[in-house]
């Protein structure tokens, strides 16, 4: 077995050094009644070639480009990923290292994470960032928990047009911790209706997502005002980080915590994971922040270097009093995002975001002309809610038969939107693709 280097001679010599007779004897401390009575029933061992054949079947048995044109977004986006980034990620000094506990031989990861923190903070207009969380949903859950710690309050207003899965994760995380969530309705133009917040008693946070689940861009200034009036933290999430190549940053609009999913930044969809939980906040809150964080410092000779820092927030020091239970995070995904942002640059991200915006507007216009209804009038980024002509929901299946996944049927998440679809378009779809979609719908 190529992963097990021990020859029979090695084993014999080592058993001898240990002073036991056989490999079984090494397990004398495992009581008999804790042992398996039979070997695990597993396939294999497969050769590398059998494995490749077998896994290829699973991979092929999954719809994707070019056979399928998938207009799904809703938290997972189809974006370009340059070959240079894929190449660099494969460098095993990055991928086969552990969390950088020994900074002297982990400066590669550490500088890269410091840069990642800086780039994400800049993108979102915030002062500080951590070194990643698992995904956008758990990042938002952590944000709510943190808002509770900061404000010492436990009720939270959360927009009903935050991604439904994110709301579910927030609920899972915070409910058993004793938080109370109030869901805010949405207005006719697809944005959060903040009015119920006025009736809340000392909310810890007002939480929105922008662009929201419907792709609509929220009025963050209004949220800021509402939240801060009530002494709550202004927490805003995102599922589509690329939007901030174009839109005003939440930081510039007064957000206290900005968090969300970084998958768009060079990370493949991979059936939804691993993703990247981006978490940014203000300097004054960094000691309440969850997760790992890298800081700049100097070595004994005064040379610049980087270390994991603010460890006194963390589980290995503070145990049950820690600001989170994070140990492993999503470092390699953060590295991907940093490489992607470094490759794009400020100029590139604006261009790419603009292209997304323009394609989406193009499709909206064409669909409208083809008789579709765009459900919400507010400005959107990358995705929008649409109703097919004559409210014909069977259209979806007809398109599917032609290899087009025409968005996400919304009825399951918003029963009142029966017959509506959340359609996403990114730079990957060419005008020709969009025209085909429109033609199919119109025909």
């Amino acid at each position: 077995m190529r992963y097990l280097p021990h020859t029979d001679d090695d084993i014999a010599a080592m058993l001898d050094a240990v002073g036991v007779k056989s490999l079984e004897d090494l397990f004398e401390t495992v009581p008999l009644d804790c042992r398996r009575t039979r070997d695990p029933d597993l396939p294999g061992p497969l050769t590398e070639w059998e494995l490749t054949d077998r896994i290829a079947v699973s991979a092929e048995n999954t719809a994707g480009p070019p056979d399928y044109k998938v207009y799904l977004g809703a938290g997972s986006y189809e974006h370009v990923r340059p070959a240079s980034v894929s190449y660099l990620l494969n460098r095993s000094e990055f991928s086969t290292a552990y969390t950088p506990y020994q900074p002297e031989i982990s400066q590669g990861t550490l500088q890269a994470m410091y840069e990642y923190q800086t780039l994400t903070a800049r993108l979102l207009g915030m002062e500080a960032a951590n070194a990643s969380l698992y995904d956008g949903a758990s990042a938002l859950a952590e944000a709510v928990l943190m808002a509770g710690r900061v404000t010492k309050r436990t009720s939270v207003a959360i927009s009903g047009v935050v991604h439904p899965f994110y709301r579910q994760v927030v609920k899972t995380y915070v409910q058993s911790a004793g938080y109370k969530l109030t869901e805010l309705p949405y207005t006719e133009d697809g944005r959060t209706d903040l009015s119920p917040v006025d009736n809340m008693d000392e909310p810890a946070a007002v939480v929105v997502q922008s662009p929201n689940f419907f792709g609509c861009i929220e009025d963050l200034s209004e949220v800021e005002q509402k939240a801060h009036e009530l002494g709550a933290l202004f927490v805003t999430a995102f599922t589509e980080a690329l939007a901030y190549g174009l839109l005003k940053s939440p930081g510039s609009l007064g957000a206290d915590i900005v968090c969300g999913e970084g998958q768009s930044l060079g990370i493949p969809r991979s059936f939804g994971g691993p993703g990247l939980g981006i978490f940014t906040t203000l300097t004054k809150y960094v000691r309440r922040m969850p997760g790992r964080v890298v800081g700049k410092t100097r070595d004994l000779d005064g040379k610049q270097g980087f270390v994991l820092t603010l460890a006194t927030r963390e589980q290995h020091i503070r145990r049950e009093k820690a600001t989170s239970n994070i140990c492993t995070n999503n470092s390699l995904c953060a590295l991907t995002a940093a490489m992607f942002l470094a490759s794009l640059g400020g100029t590139g991200i604006r261009e790419l975001a603009r292209l997304n915006y323009d394609k989406c507007e193009y499709l909206k216009r064409e669909l409208r002309e083809a008789g579709c209804t765009i459900s919400f009038a507010g400005p959107t980024f990358n995705e929008f809610v649409v109703r097919f002509p004559k409210n014909d929901a069977s259209m979806y299946d007809r398109l599917l038969a032609k290899g087009i996944v025409a968005g996400l049927p919304l009825a399951r998440y918003f029963p009142e939107l029966e017959g509506c679809f959340l359609v996403c378009v990114t730079e990957i779809k060419s005008k020709a693709d969009l025209d085909v979609l429109v033609r199919e719908i119109a025909s």
Binding site: L4, V80, A97, G273, V307, L355
Partner: protein, 484 residues
């Protein structure tokens, strides 16, 4: 004399990204614009983000150089205790990057993603089979999230039974994530001390177990690398008072094919695919921390779950008792592909992997116990824990020895954990290290122990060969500089 791996050589400095760029450069290709500009509301439009513009070669060199400042399993032996830094097979990476997987959208209609659903379903089955448990969820994104998931399941179980419990037993050897995860569920950890053999005694557990205690979080093998021999009796005690037994399975690498978690009395357990199942740790993730449960707790597992009917697979949310969702989608699918590939490649060899992991740890233990103080002189599992007790007289600490190992070309072991051993040095070689590598490591430790006697400053100033020397962590924490 033997040549140790550590030496010095040419390494390249590299500035911070934003010290390199020039506005207007481009490091990546953008798809061609084939639609017109649409009007954007000026009120929404932000400034161009303040990110440096680099060329492709700038980016490639930046990260190539950074990578060379790192040490990974591919660089050399990485005996970081509790982290199971085994070899990460390259074929698994290739499998996870197959076009069909990386391009799969998580919200595809079920019938368009049968391949990935089957893979997940199979993997759940394999993990249940390997642990001896009945059902599994792959959703938790890492060990700590698996623990949280486990706590939520225990919470839900008691809530279902109308029982309101607010404490949980956590041994003093537990990993920090255990109490932190328990606290997320508002459980107050009740600390129990391990006995003079480094394991829990049934008496100690019995002393704190009562009907306000939701259960116990036990790590087996524990973080001292010892098998919790009384686990069955302890489980009985906990069960008898209505509690549940949670097992932190981070150390499963010691007992695959050998121990039966269910037989031990475990109700809920998490695994770390990024330890036991060979997926690379990525310098801090992504990982995956699947949770396995016994049959009657299955209804609490996170949703959606993958169901099979006659060879066709679907996702279902229809589990009203579920603890809910922990991840936006289904967890770290990409990591699952690697673990799946590993299990298929190993098959029955998984047992041999555990045997050799334990052999390696015992070999290191036996060969080093004369020169390093061995905290518990008993047969160990996959790792062994020493301390700096013998070296203290020379004012040489565990940290010094660890740093000196870097100069010898080895990644240091885990240090100062578990907390019950003062100055702990926790060595987990894993099964993928050959006897020669272990011998070289052992010789290096012995050489360092000698240096501690004869020239302790060598240790206190270590590492000396690295591009940066010891870093000022106090200053970093006192005046945090987290962005540039």
């Amino acid at each position: 004399m033997k040549e140790f791996p550590g030496t010095s050589g040419l390494v390249l400095n590299e500035p911070l990204l934003w010290e390199k760029g020039r506005r207007g450069r481009s490091g990546m290709s953008l798809p061609r614009r084939d639609v017109d500009f649409a009007p954007v509301d000026e009120n929404l439009l932000g400034d161009i983000p303040d990110l440096p513009d680099l060329s492709e070669v700038d980016v490639v060199r930046h990260y190539t150089r950074l990578s060379q400042w790192n040490f990974g399993v591919d660089s050399g032996m990485y005996p970081l205790g509790s982290c199971t830094m085994k070899y990460n097979p390259k074929i698994n990476e290739a499998m996870a990057s197959l076009h069909g997987f990386v391009e799969a959208h998580p919200l595809l209609p079920d019938r368009l993603c049968q391949g990935v659903l089957k893979l997940m379903h199979d993997l759940e089955r394999f993990l249940a089979e390997i642990t001896g448990m009945d059902a599994a969820s792959l959703q938790p994104a890492a060990g700590a999230q698996g623990e949280l998931c486990g706590m939520l399941i225990i919470h839900a179980h008691h809530a279902c039974n109308g029982s309101d419990r607010d404490r949980i037993i956590v041994p003093d050897t537990a990993h920090g994530t255990n109490p932190a995860s328990a606290a997320l569920c508002r459980y107050t950890p009740v600390r129990v001390e391990s006995n003079e053999h480094g394991i829990l005694s049934p008496e100690a557990v019995a002393a704190v177990m009562d009907e306000a205690v939701a259960g116990i979080m036990i790590t087996n093998p524990n973080t001292l690398g010892l098998f919790e021999e009384h686990i069955r009796e302890i489980a009985d005690i906990v069960h008898s008072q209505g509690g549940l037994v949670y097992c932190d399975g981070a150390n499963m690498n010691a007992v695959m094919g050998i121990a039966d978690m269910r037989a031990m009395g475990v109700d809920v357990l998490h695994l770390n695919l990024h330890k036991t199942f060979s997926t690379p740790h990525g310098g801090g993730g992504p990982g995956a921390g699947p949770v396995c449960v016994r049959k009657d707790l299955e209804r609490f597992l996170p949703v959606p779950r993958v169901l099979e009917d006659n060879g066709s697979y679907r996702l279902s949310d229809d589990f009203p008792d579920s603890v809910g969702k922990l991840h936006a989608f289904f967890g770290s699918f990409g990591v699952m592909v690697k673990a799946y590939s590993y299990i298929l490649t190993m098959g029955p060899h998984l047992k041999r992997a555990s045997e050799l992991a334990v052999l390696n740890a015992n070999y290191v233990k036996e060969r080093l116990k004369d020169v390093l103080h061995l905290s518990y002189d008993r047969p160990c599992m996959h790792e062994c824990v020493f301390s700096d007790k013998f070296q203290r007289s020379k004012q040489v600490t565990t940290l010094d020895m660890a740093k000196r190992l870097i100069d010898y070309g080895f990644h240091p072991p885990t240090i100062y954990f578990p907390l019950v051993v003062a100055g702990a040095l926790m060595i987990e070689p894993t099964e993928t290290e050959s006897k020669e590598n272990l011998d070289l490591f052992i010789d290096a430790v012995k050489a360092i122990v000698n240096e501690a006697e004869e020239n302790p400053d060598l240790l206190r100033e270590a590492p000396t060969l690295t591009r940066v020397r010891r870093l000022d962590e106090t200053e970093a924490a006192r005046h945090p500089c987290l962005t540039g």
